[in-house]
């Protein structure tokens, strides 16, 4: 059974290799090959899952040691996988959503000449993401971490002919580098502290390390998580990443990769448990991002960017929950999974709308689409109800648990965090209702596209609607199923520490408060966008709206704080390089060139001068030999 773990990764990896190496001759069926391999990977995952269910809680983890990667004295890096309940959860999410999105992409990318390459990258992403969650040590995790970063870069910039896409890919890559350096430093610190970077020994002996060290490692891990999961202050790339094809936004930038940061923090729980200061920072980051993303999401007119803000905000919820420690870990993962379903579904719905509207993304040019795209409308609607926490749908369960855990933090902090999460719930309801109303209700505000084509909205093909329907079912039912008999908590509790929080307000109270605030948010959105006609050009708005449209000035801040000084630094270095370094180098080169020119004159072609040189050489040889003896 262990060997299946390797095959799980190997299937999509093989697909990526075959599609990239195979070339044009695979164009006709390459997408089916990639989808088939993704499905195969999902099949393996399902087999492993049922096999795992057949064993007792403590014996469920499997491990597979493939080979020693870098065996150098104390430095032992292995290619080894570990499949426990936490990894299993991710593997199922990644392979199931991944397979659905492969299927969806067949229709979505039908007319793209580089479709084979797109599927190769998707497969590459799956393989890397699986390595990330299956690794049994931080170094291999780092390999997967960089692998998904690469796949993300390639896919954001997939339409490289658009300068905006190329720039967005570069931006995502650069911002992620900052986080990746955090992960690298964390691994260095682990190795110098524990002498290893395997999960077992590091997390097992975390208690013995000093709190200062653990805090340092924790903060570095958090930096990494911020980069990958688009948390403040490394959030700026996610909005631009929507330049990628929509299936990519759904799979990578909503359902799976961006949640890797949450996985990292939960996996490293033992480290954070020993570093309360680092935990506090995690909570702050989560809370700030939660509001930041929600506010941005309220102001965007681009449907994908609005959803991106929402993603950021929802991951903020998860991050906040992980920062709460054992009372939050399980619910962070639970929200992650439910979010994976409904957010992927929402993005696929957005993609379906764009597909029908000549790739228009501005919601102010939609309107009234529910009649024209009924399947999209219904599936999107179910995802919408799930995310705003409509009672007894997925988001309701997972989000309420996080809100409850936030109150359970206790003391003033508990009240503040509880307040923030409740406020977030209201904002979520507002921006999601806004999207819903602008897109599917109201007047038609359609416009001709750049080539003057009138949009003819139509329902998308089966290959696109089926994944949307499946995901909608998941969005509706997953939370209820997870919450049934504490299914999800019991499933994860052998590997993820859990604790019952002691909240000043009861579960019921939280649910009521959250539902009321959700209704307030829906109502406010309806007042603004449902009751009145929507202007086709966005009104100027107040300062907060204007700032939110510019992503709360994140780029202006980054520009002023990093780009401008960085440019000056670069210019300074270039100047030094040109004048000083090149000067020395060129000077040296000129010196040797001149020397060479002079020395070569000794080679005059006359045998007599050559003989003279030999004679002189022999004389010197003898003289030096004799002299050395005399000295």
């Amino acid at each position: 059974m262990e060997s299946l773990i390797g095959l799980l990764v190997a299937a999509p990896l093989l697909g990526a290799a075959v599609l990239l190496v195979g070339g044009r001759r695979l164009d006709r069926f390459g997408h089916w090959l990639a989808t088939g391999l993704a499905a195969l990977s999902f099949t393996f995952a399902a087999v492993l899952f049922f096999d795992m269910l057949g064993r007792e809680g403590a014996d469920r983890a499997l491990s597979q040691h493939l080979y020693s990667w870098v065996p150098v004295a104390d430095f032992q890096a292995d290619i080894a996988f570990q499949l426990d309940q936490l990894s299993m959860t991710f593997v199922l999410l990644i392979t199931s959503v991944g397979t659905l999105i492969h299927l969806y992409s067949i229709g979505y990318m039908e007319h793209d000449v580089r479709r084979r390459r797109f599927f190769a990258y998707l497969n590459l992403f799956l393989a890397a993401m699986l390595v990330l969650v299956l690794a049994d040590n931080y170094l291999l995790l780092y390999v997967g971490w960089e692998g998904v970063g690469l796949a993300s870069f390639l896919l954001i910039g997939f339409w490289q002919h658009k300068p905006s896409a190329a720039t967005a890919a570069k931006k995502a890559f650069v911002v992620n580098r900052v986080g990746d350096i955090g992960l690298a430093i964390a691994i260095f610190l682990m190795f110098s502290t524990f002498g290893t970077f395997a999960f077992g020994p590091v997390l097992g002996s975390a208690e013995q390390a000093s709190e200062g060290t653990l805090t340092a490692i924790g903060l570095m891990l958090l930096l990494a998580a911020c980069g990958k999961s688009a948390q403040v202050p490394l959030q700026s790339w996610l909005g631009d990443a929507m330049e990628g094809p929509t299936p990519v936004s759904a799979l990578i930038h909503a359902a799976t990769m961006v949640t890797a940061g949450v996985y990292l923090v939960v996996r490293s729980g033992a480290i954070f448990d020993g570093a309360p200061d680092a935990q506090t920072v995690v909570v702050i980051v989560g809370a700030v991002t939660l509001l930041f993303g929600a506010i941005v999401g309220c102001a965007k007119d681009d449907i994908k960017k609005a959803l991106a803000g929402s993603t950021m905000s929802q991951i903020g919820y998860m991050m906040l929950a992980t920062g709460l420690g054992p009372i939050g870990y399980v619910f962070a993962i639970m929200h992650l999974v439910t979010h994976g379903f409904f957010k992927a579904g929402l993005f696929l719905g957005a993609g379906s709308v764009m597909h029908g509207m000549n790739d228009e993304v501005d919601m102010r040019r939609y309107g009234g689409l529910r009649k024209y795209m009924p399947v999209t409308f219904v599936t999107f609607g179910l995802g919408y109800l799930a995310i705003i926490g409509f009672p007894y749908l997925s988001g309701f369960f997972s989000k309420d648990e996080i809100i409850y855990a936030a109150f359970a933090k206790g003391g003033t902090e508990g009240w503040i965090l509880g307040g923030v999460t409740l406020l977030g719930a209201a904002l979520t309801a507002f921006y999601m209702t806004r999207i819903m109303l602008l897109t599917f209700f109201g007047e038609k505000r359609w416009q001709r596209d750049a080539e003057g084509n009138e949009p003819h909205p139509h329902e998308s093909p089966k290959s696109m609607t089926i994944p949307m329907i499946v995901l909608a079912v998941g969005s509706v039912g997953a939370g209820f199923f997870f919450n049934l008999n504490h299914n999800f908590v019991d499933w994860l509790s052998p590997v993820v520490p859990t604790a019952d929080g002691d909240s000043p307000i009861s579960h019921g109270m939280v649910s009521v408060a959250a539902t009321v605030l959700m209704l307030v948010g829906v109502g406010a959105a309806w007042l603004q966008y449902g009751r009145r006609p929507v202007p086709e050009v966005a009104p100027t708005g107040r300062w907060i709206t204007r700032a939110a449209r510019r992503d709360l000035l994140q780029d202006d801040f980054n520009h002023a704080a990093f780009v401008t000084p960085g440019n000056y630094l670069t210019r300074g270095l270039v100047y030094v390089d040109h004048k000083l370094v090149d000067g020395v180098v060129n000077g040296t080169a000129a010196m040797f060139g001149g020397l060479s020119g002079r020395l070569r004159k000794t080679q005059n072609g006359f045998a007599r001068s050559y003989a003279a040189s030999m004679f002189g050489g022999a004389a010197i040889l003898i003289a030096v030999t004799l002299l050395m003896r005399a000295v």
Partner: protein
Amino acid sequence: MNSWTHAQGVLETPQFEWVALSPTLIVVGAAVLGVLIEAFAPRRYRYGSQVVLAVLALAVAFAAVVGLAANGHAGAEAQIAGMGALAVDGPTLFLQGVLLLIGFVSVFLFAERRLEPAEHGRAVDSFAAQAAATPGGTAEKLAVRSGYTTTEIFPLMLFALGGMLLFPAANDLLILFIALEVLSLPLYLLCALARRRRLLSQEAAVKYFLLGAFASAFLLFGIALLYGYAGTLSYAGIADVISGAPSSQVDPGLAATMGNDAYLLIGGALVIMGLLFKVGAVPFHMWTPDVYQGAPTPVTGFMAAATKVAAFGALLRLLYVTLPGMRWDWEPVLWGVAIASMLAGAVIAITQTDVKRLLAYSSIAHAGFILAGVVAVSPEGVSSVLFYLAAYSFVTLGAFAVITLVRDGDGEATHLSKWAGLGRRSPLLAGVFALFLLAFAGIPLTSGFAGKFAVFRAAADSGAMPLVIVGVIASAIAAFFYVRVIVLMFFSEPQPGGPSVVVPSLMTTSMLGVSVVATVVLGVAPQYFLDLAGQAGVFVR
């Protein structure tokens, strides 16, 4: 004690270890057979039979070397053979093996007949139609029209190789001198045999001959002085006298000179000088560029690789067996020579415009690098030099083989300006040449890096840090002109009417393949071969 030089009145029946000396005997025997073929076989059969004979002889001789090594002759069974004249031990067998491999692939280079356009319907090689004909004269035209070819090159090469096989095995100064002459004389002739640019070729041969004779005279004079000092020509015997052991037989005629250190120092210096001439170290290097340029390119490749291997082998044995007692006298001198060779070779190469001359100066710099390993005076030094020689010779052969393929109407296009943009037109060949250049420059994952690393480490371990520092600086300078050629090939626009790359026969192709494989394998996984050289690093006395 050497029985040849002490046969006083009575000539003893020589004892001869046929098996231990078989590699050399096979090669020389095949050379004699080759002469007989030239004398008696009809002209049209000569080429085929010579090639087959040479290939067979070299293969059998190589098998003999392997067999000897497998029987422990490289280690525990190492012996002095030929009545004290020759040593069959690790370094001898390692270098003989390398030399035979060089010879083996060189035969292919010599035998290549696809490069020159056919003369009157007959395929011809890179060698003169009739060596004795005056360049441009009637006799030459006649020879060309008759489709003559100089098949004597094969026995000549085998003779040279026979001398080279003896050279590192020589355990007696007289044998050293004889081996030197046996290897040199055929090479002088081979240098004169170019089909194109015959005047340049003949000039190179004459210069090589004159200067070689001059160097031989120094060497012989040194041998005489050493005999005067020690009363014997045997390496071990001289070493015993240097270390103060009383000589068993004192020739009354030598009473005045024996034990006089001036004879030792001057004689030792002159013998070393004779060998430094052969390896092409500064200031005895000046023949190298002219000869490398003028000689037919296959000969240049063979000579550049094999002569260096043989001469360094002889130098190592001389320094490690005979003269360790005067180590403190010759070490500073060799330091100086090594530094001068590395720097002069690298610096002068910068302004060269001819590929063959460029490689000649590069070989001078490499002689300096190898000397750094020689100076280490340690088992690691010996094994590093052995490894370097093996690695370097294949890179050199490969590089010259590439030069034979880049041709225009006048034969090989050796001027660098004609190589501009070669990478655009023949990416594969230019890539192969770039690989060799990177190996020359000592870039990691090529054999050049592994070799350079080994000699520098040996030198550093024995305290020759300044030498290593100069070596690294010289490597940096050298990297400039190697990479410049790569830039020229890949990043310059091709010239109109530039040279074309000839598609060679399977012989040159397989020879290039072997060189590429050797360069990459010795660079990527050098440890096995370093171990092999390490096991072969002990001289028998």
